[in-house]
């Protein structure tokens, strides 16, 4: 059973460009959450998708957007990249519902903006 897979593992982009990161959830999971982890810090919640809709959003600008597909996989898009967007982006999958708390994480995508 494959766990959460993210692609690519590393990415270098130029300031002002756009980037798309991808996530496939653990088999059987229906909810995908995205986190940004800056160097030396804990992950910060970006947003969560369930039933192809954004259900919750953290304190991130509209440059950060996402999508969930019918097969539950998800994309994170960041437009107009800033140097400060350089971070590890983590995807976590889980089951939607009260008490369903266990989240499985992927290995992340390391984004470097130059």
């Amino acid at each position: 059973d494959a766990g959460v897979t993210q692609s690519p593992t590393h990415l270098i982009k130029t300031r002002g460009q756009q980037v798309t990161l991808r996530c496939s959830p653990k088999s059987g999971h229906d909810t995908v959450s995205w986190y940004q982890q800056a160097l030396g810090q804990g992950p910060q919640f970006i947003f969560q998708y369930y039933e192809e809709e954004e259900r919750q959003r953290g304190n991130f600008p509209d440059r950060f957007s996402g999508h969930q597909f019918p097969n539950y996989s998800s994309e994170l898009n960041v437009n107009a990249l800033l140097l400060g967007d350089s971070a590890l982006y983590l995807c976590a999958s889980s089951l939607y519902g009260t008490g369903r708390t266990e989240a499985f994480f992927g290995q992340g995508t390391r984004l470097t903006v130059v």
Partner: protein, 115 residues
């Protein structure tokens, strides 16, 4: 606002000894969960242990146990018989019940286990 604070940026311990990592949190909610996650150099977050706030009994998973003090809003992790493979970043995290699995993380504690 809900916050999680880890006051120890770095800790070190000798192999086979015991170490305790500290975590405090702030919330006005009554129903929530607390977690310790481990992040080794491979970057993947791995769940170490989970505690339901409504349970008074402290959670235990093999060499890992917690000391959950709800009134003090404290949630420390004790690692017994430390092993070299325990070297990693450890994050304390808070989650509220209600369907949304939004985790609030602390800044982490870097643990080094020395032979």
């Amino acid at each position: 606002a809900q916050t999680v604070t880890q006051s120890q940026p770095e800790m070190s311990v000798q192999e086979a000894e015991t170490v305790t990592l500290s975590c405090t949190y702030d919330t006005s909610e009554n129903n929530y969960y607390l977690f310790w996650y481990k992040q080794p150099p491979s970057r993947q977050m791995i769940l170490v242990i989970r505690q339901e706030a409504y349970k008074q009994q402290n959670a235990t998973e093999n060499r890992f146990s917690v000391n959950f003090q709800k009134a003090a809003k404290s949630f420390s992790l004790k690692i017994s018989d430390s092993q070299l493979g325990d070297t990693a970043m450890y994050f304390c995290a808070l989650l509220f019940s209600g369907g949304y699995n939004k985790l609030i993380f602390g800044a982490g504690t870097r643990l080094a286990v020395h032979p």
